[in-house]
Assembly symmetry: C2
């Protein structure tokens, strides 16, 4: 009889940021598969268990191994940082799944960097938002550019994953340029968080104009506000809306505007 | 000395879907504030604690009460379903926070319906996506319509929160119409989940054309695929990209296409 494959999101990587469901999945598994670095984040939960690790680019190999072991009747967890559904392993596993029809696949959600990073900065995603990866390893840059343009036209709060890597140093600057050319103001309130929930966590606020020069790396998540996003006492906050009278009054009070109503 | 206000995301609402950090925040709090229905979801965690509940529309009152009690030196948790930063209480609390400068505010992220619903359906958010609420209580419909148009132009996977309520029965149909008018195909793969992680959870897949007629309610979260999203064995899956050779091969195999490469 075939077994179960849990595709588990660890969240930012600290053990207390996992959900109870993720914790249970790991504890009931016979085999834990994952990228080496992620396994090191949860030593207590996987202590004494068989593990299968591959380096960063060995993702399809890891998916196949996890599916094969589950097909052989084992209970397997394949782990991802953040949420497995957001640029994670749920999509490649499900793409391969028709070859392993008897394996039960359970996607266990986790707190993705858009949410954990937003919590560090305040509430930049308090209204509609979009999430775009600047990595062109799997998506052509033209598609990324088209989405950045749409994000600007829709005045979304926007989260950028993978803003830079050693080989792609200028992607963030190019992304900011596209946003500016499509109507985002250079003084749009922005922020960034590095090493979310891990040792050495850092964050900062800046304008979109300043963001162009941020030295981002692959552990940085970037937040670009909508036109409503404000810096309120050092927190990046997107209000949920303006039609509520109390909200309007508070906004005015904080801006020091005269109340005409 | 002023106390701490935790703004806590419960995730979908089942106790095992909370993070450890959310659980700790609740356990260390003297006072738990929240919408009545949400408090009922976590009876064990708040057992024996003082609670302050207001009905759905009393949100600003709840924020003020939580801030005032924290200012008086108490440890307070203000709870939200999902993530407090996504259409939740983090934004209104931080908007009021300059009036309570000594209160330490900690936003504790949770698994929002975009992630928990995606996990039920498969991996619809495997590449870039956006999240749009169809509620026009706080956001004018023109802004919502503009964002739907941008979502279509950017070919994002799109999650719709608050697709309908008793007073807004036709919002989902209008949203689908805007997407169709702006380039989304009527056969775009879509899905929906109702009562995520709670009793009576249901889900289904459909096309964008069919989605127009879905009887959604305020407990339904709707997923609209990008042009790459597929129904793979009953799972809604957005591939992470097409430039990877193995991905390409798998896609072709599943479609039964001839391999020309």
């Amino acid at each position: 009889m075939a077994g179960t494959l849990f595709v588990v999101g660890l969240g930012p990587g600290r053990e207390d940021l996992l959900t109870g469901e993720a914790r249970s999945a790991l504890l009931t598994s016979d085999l834990i598969c994952g990228y080496t670095t992620y396994l090191r984040l949860i030593p207590e939960l996987i202590s004494g268990k068989e593990t299968y690790t591959t380096p960063m680019r060995g993702e399809m190999e890891r998916c196949r191994h996890a599916l094969e072991q589950a097909a052989a009747g084992r209970t397997v967890s394949l782990i991802c940082s953040g949420d497995p559904g957001v640029y994670g392993m749920a999509s490649p596993v499900l793409t391969l799944s028709p070859e392993y029809p008897d394996v039960e696949i359970v996607v266990v959600p986790g707190v993705t960097a858009a949410l954990s990073g937003a919590a560090v900065l305040g509430a930049p995603l308090g209204n509609d938002f979009c999430v775009i990866s600047l990595s062109d390893l799997l998506t052509p840059w033209e598609t990324i550019a088209r989405r950045l343009k749409a994000a600007a036209l829709g005045d979304f709060s926007t989260v950028l994953y993978n803003p830079a890597s050693k080989k792609r140093r200028d992607h963030l600057e190019r992304a900011c340029q596209i946003l500016l050319e499509n109507g985002k103001s250079p003084v749009t309130c922005c922020g960034w968080v590095r090493n979310i929930g891990r040792e050495g966590q850092e964050h900062g606020l800046c304008t979109l104009e300043e963001l162009k020069d941020l030295e981002a790396d692959m552990f940085t998540t970037v937040f670009i506000g909508s036109s409503d996003t404000e810096n309120i006492g050092g927190h990046l906050v997107t209000p949920r809306g303006y039609r509520n009278e109390e909200n309007r009054r508070i906004q005015r009070d904080h801006r020091g505007e005269k109340t005409g109503l």
